[in-house]
Structures are given as C-alpha cells and as structure tokens.
C-alpha cells in the first residue's frame, strides 16, 4: 500500500476519533474522563497531521465513499478550514483539561459523550463541502450544544437553553430551506459545483435570504442575539467556553464560506446591512457588557460585541477583500482562544467565591494569580492591545477601513475598543481591591487555572506569528487573489 505518515487520512480521523470517543464514553462511563482526554489528544494530533499535510501539499480533497460530487459527499480543506480545525482542537484540549476537575462524578458521565459528539459535529462541519451535510452537522452541533447548556440544571439554565434550542432549530430550518432552493435550482449540493453553476436569479436570491437569515440567527448578530447571553452565561464554564469560542463561529464559518464561494456572485448590498448591524452589535453589546453585575453575563455580552466585528468584514471586503477577510479569520482564532480562556477564568472565580458577582470579587488576585493572569491576558486580546491575536485582527480591520476612508466604521471600532477596555478593567479592577474575605473560599484545582492560562497564552502568541498564520490562510486562496498588507 505504501501509505506514508503524511498520507494518513487525518481528516477522517478528525471525524471518527471524537465519534468513537463519544460512543465509548457512553458505553464505559466510569472511565469517560480518560477516554475523553485520550480522544482530545488524538484530535489534536490529527489536526496537526492534517495541518502538516495541507501546508506541505496544498488544498486537500476527499471523496467520501469514492463517489465524488455531485453524487457523493466531498470533504475539502483549505487554509480557512484548516485554521478552524486547528483552533477547535486547541480549544477542545484546553476545555477538556479544565473539565477533568470541574464536573462532579455524576456530571462527568453526562458531559463527556455530549461534548465529544459536539466536537465530532464541529470537525465534520469545518471539513464538509456539501450543503446538506452541513445541515446535518449543524443539527448535531445545535442539539449537543443545547444539551450541554442545561448541565448546570438550574431553572435559568433550562429557560435559556429552551430559547437557545428554538433559535437554533429555527436557524437550521431556514438554512435547510435555502439548501432546498439551491438544490432545485442548480441540481447539486456540492459547494464547488454550485459555485460553477450559480447564476443570479430570483430563486437564488430567496435561497441567499433564507440561508443568511438562518445563519445570522445562529451566529447571534444583533438584533438576533437575544438567545445568546442567557444561554452562554447559565451554562457550566467549560460549556460556555465552547459555545462562545467555537459554536457561534461555526455558523459564521458556513456563512463566510457560502458567501465567498456562491453568493458573492449576487450583486447585493447586504454587506452594507451586515456592516451596519455589526456596528450596532459592537456598541450595544459592549454597553450591555459594561452594565452587567455578573462576570459570566459580562463575558457573554462581550461575545455579542465581538461577533459584530466579524460582520464588519463584509462591507470592507468589497475593495480590500483579502485583508478584510483575513482580519475576520484572525479575529475568529484569537477570539476563540481569548473568550474560552475568559469563560474558564470566570468559572474559576465562581468556584472560588461561590458566586460571580463582580462587586464582590474580593482580593482574588492574591488567591488565584494564574486565573487572574489568564483573564488579563485574554482581556488584552479582546481589547485589541498589542501584542496579541486580537491586536492583529483589529489592526487589519482598521487598516481596511482606513484605506477606504470608511470613517464611520473606524469610529465604531475605536469606540468598541475603549468600551472593551472599560468592561475588562471593571472586572480586573475589582480583583485587586483590598477587602476581607467574608466566606470560606472554594478550592480551585491547578489544572483549571492552567487550562485557562494555556488558552489565554495562545491568544497572545497569535500576535507573534502573524505572517505564518496569514500564509496558512492563503492556502487555496479562499478569498481570491491579492495579499494582506500588514
């Protein structure tokens, strides 16, 4: 056969490993912790292997079942999907390490299979080149995410998860409706085939409207964000981290992919609308975050604001496509790492104090220095200060806006940055105040602190490897010709 190491089907491993891991955790719940960790490490290795393969040999195609489009399903990996897979693996690793000591025994056996199935769905989603297959992965992801969000078992969690479930089901249905129209217009489900056959007509417009509406709802762009803050704030910390870092980005990834490959051929002004809503999301989400009295809600509203930045890339990309899209991808990566770190850190603070009221974060800095460091580092990236991944992405976005003299968007970004600084210092400032401890603090295991710091460190490190990562984004030139100007 002569299969060399590099030719190993890493992409298939990325799907099958978490799937079998999830099944095994369900079958043997008593060892689910070990099984889960082994699986996640395997996923990390597979993502690295796939990365090596793609960086070495370029775009990766796989015909599942050997049929190929349009009859069968294809997997497709270019720089964009590769980075999504890698950041997923990295966040998964951090969250899994964190979860070992976070959940009690009875919750371990519930958490691991659901979480590994969610990971399966995420990997399958980023690998897929078939729009109906994307629908199935979206549903798998949505149901797993909702189930995980209920794990705290509180009344608020159930109400929030119920809203989340309805929103995600509605979004998937709208997406499916769009898929139906695309299939019946152009006779294929494969993105590449659709991209060739696509032509602008009224049905294509309807499909675009339905798919965008569904995915925007799932991505929680203002004003469709109503479900996000309660669902993310009431979930267990590792779940909040995954929801904010990865699940929201997955639907954005599909929107981005379909926009680039298919819908950019429509002559639309929707990009302006996206930019407008994104701007409101930045301002409004940041203001709401500033108003919150609980850390987890604050962090959740910060996600609403950061999602707004992603949508700024749409209007900016018209003139400076590659720069603006690269900025968006960079933001996805850095926000994924920073936000998961922040939620994990918030979970530690909650565990330590027994509550997550910002006003009562007494003298945490001395007790949990690693956690506070993680929160601060993640905050640096969220605010967009150098050196961090967040800085690179916001800098690129700002550049694209300045080149085009889009002063409105420049203003929004600057205000958003100032507000982000305000809400992050609101937490950090409290953490350093001198107050006596009114209660017995909870014990926070070291793994939980280091997991948060690992992810936050990743967000900072992204700031040092800009040129390498931008080179990876360019593999398969998902954003068309051109180059990024740093």
């Amino acid at each position: 056969m002569g299969i060399t190491f590099i030719d190993f089907p890493w992409a298939i491993a990325l799907i099958l490993l978490p799937l079998t891991g999830g099944l095994s955790c369900f079958l043997w719940p008593s060892v689910s912790k070990i099984l889960g960790l082994v699986t996640v490490i395997g996923v990390m290795l597979s993502a690295t292997g796939l990365g090596w393969l793609v960086i070495d040999k370029g775009v990766y195609h796989y015909l599942v079942g050997g049929w190929g489009a349009p009859l069968g399903i294809e997997l497709y990996v270019d720089g964009l999907s590769l980075l999504m897979l890698m950041v997923t693996a990295l966040v998964a690793l951090g969250v899994s390490i964190y979860s070992i000591h976070y959940f009690e025994l009875s919750y371990q056996r519930r958490f691991w299979p659901l979480w590994l199935f969610l990971l399966t769905a995420l990997n399958a989603l980023f690998l897929s080149a078939d729009i109906f297959n994307l629908y199935v992965t979206l549903e798998l992801m949505g149901l797993a995410a909702v189930a995980l969000a209920t794990l705290t078992g509180s009344h608020d969690a159930f109400t929030a998860a119920m809203r989340y479930l309805l929103a995600t089901l509605l979004g998937s249905l709208a997406f499916l409706f769009g898929v139906v129209l695309l299939y019946h217009s152009f006779g294929s489900l494969d993105i590449a085939v659709l991209s060739e056959r696509f032509e602008s007509n009224i049905t294509a417009w309807a499909a675009f409207g339905l798919i965008s509406a569904g995915l925007v709802l799932k991505t929680a762009l203002f004003p469709m964000h109503f479900w996000l803050p309660p669902a993310h704030a009431n979930a267990p910390a590792p779940v909040s981290a995954v929801l904010s870092a990865l699940v929201v980005k997955a639907s954005f990834y599909i929107l981005l992919r379909l926009w680039l490959e298919i819908f950019s051929q429509l002559d639309t002004d929707v990009d302006i609308l996206f930019g407008f809503l994104g701007s409101i999301a930045i301002i409004w989400g940041s203001l709401q975050a500033l108003r919150q009295t609980r850390i987890k809600l604050l962090v959740a509203y910060s996600t609403v604001a950061q999602v707004g930045y992603l949508f700024l890339a749409f209007p900016l990309a018209e003139k400076v496509g590659v720069t603006a899209w690269s900025a968006a991808v960079y933001l996805i990566l850095s926000h994924a790492l920073a936000k998961s770190a922040m939620f994990l850190a918030a979970g530690n603070l909650l565990r330590f104090g027994g509550h997550d009221r910002i006003a009562d974060l007494d003298r945490v800095a001395q007790r949990l220095p690693i956690t506070v460091a993680a929160f601060a580092l993640a905050g640096v990236s969220i605010m967009g200060l150098p050196p961090s991944g967040g800085f690179i992405s916001k800098w690129l976005l700002l550049q694209s806006a300045l080149v085009q003299s889009q002063w409105g968007l420049v203003g929004v970004m600057l205000i958003g940055g100032v507000l982000a600084a305000a809400y992050i210092f609101k937490v950090l400032g409290r953490a350093f105040t001198q107050a006596p401890l009114p209660h017995e603090p909870g014990v926070v295991p070291a793994t939980m602190e280091w997991a948060a710091l690992l992810l936050a460190g990743g967000a900072i490190l992204l700031g040092f490897f800009a040129s390498e990562i931008l080179a990876i984004i360019e593999i398969g030139s998902p954003f068309g010709a051109g180059e990024v100007k740093l």
Binding site: E139, A147, F158, T159, M162, R163, F177, Y183, H184, F226
Partner: protein
C-alpha cells in the same frame, strides 16, 4: 406538472403558518408543534420539486434527504419536549417567563 407547484405552495404555506405560530403562541408545546410543521413544509417543497423529472421517476436524492430530515426532527422534538417538562417543573407554566423581552 401543476401538482408539483401546488404542493410546493402548500409547503410554503405550512412554513409561514408555522413561523407565525412560533412567534405569536406562548405555549412551548405549540412552539414545538410549529417547528415540526415548518419542517414538514420544507420537506414537502423538497419532495414536490423532485418530481419535475421528465421520465416520471422522481429524483431519489431529495427523498433520502427528507428521511434524514424526519429522523433529525423527531430527535429535536424529543429533546425539546423533555426540556419543556423541566421548564414547567420549575416555573409552573409551560411558557417563557414574561419579564424578559424576546
């Protein structure tokens, strides 16, 4: 030929009726019914339009897609129904609490 578009239009009707009910009905069980009916509408369009083939044998791919969709729908419904019971258990009514605006 007309049958195709007749049923496709019925499908649109179901989708919009379901969406309307999803928005205006407060009872969670009805919201889940609404989601199911919206789904049926989309499936109906998918299969109706698959009969536009010349030979009389309809396109089988949409049929397989709908079977997949039906199974996904029953999975989502089962999860949603258990969650309704939980929400009702703690709040006493199968609705979203009023004070939060949607």
């Amino acid at each position: 030929m007309n049958t195709v578009f007749l049923y496709a239009l019925v499908g649109i009707g179901l989708f919009c009726l379901g969406l309307f009910a999803l928005i205006v009905q407060a009872h969670l069980l009805r919201k889940i019914l609404a989601i199911n009916i919206m789904g049926s509408g989309v499936f109906l369009i998918l299969v109706a339009l698959a009969r536009r083939t010349e030979g009389g044998i309809p396109d089988p791919v949409p049929h397989a897609m709908v079977i997949t969709g039906i199974v996904v729908a029953v999975s989502a419904t089962a999860l949603a129904l258990v969650m309704i019971l939980k929400v009702t258990e703690s709040s006493g009514q199968p609705e979203f609490p009023d004070e939060e605006s949607k």
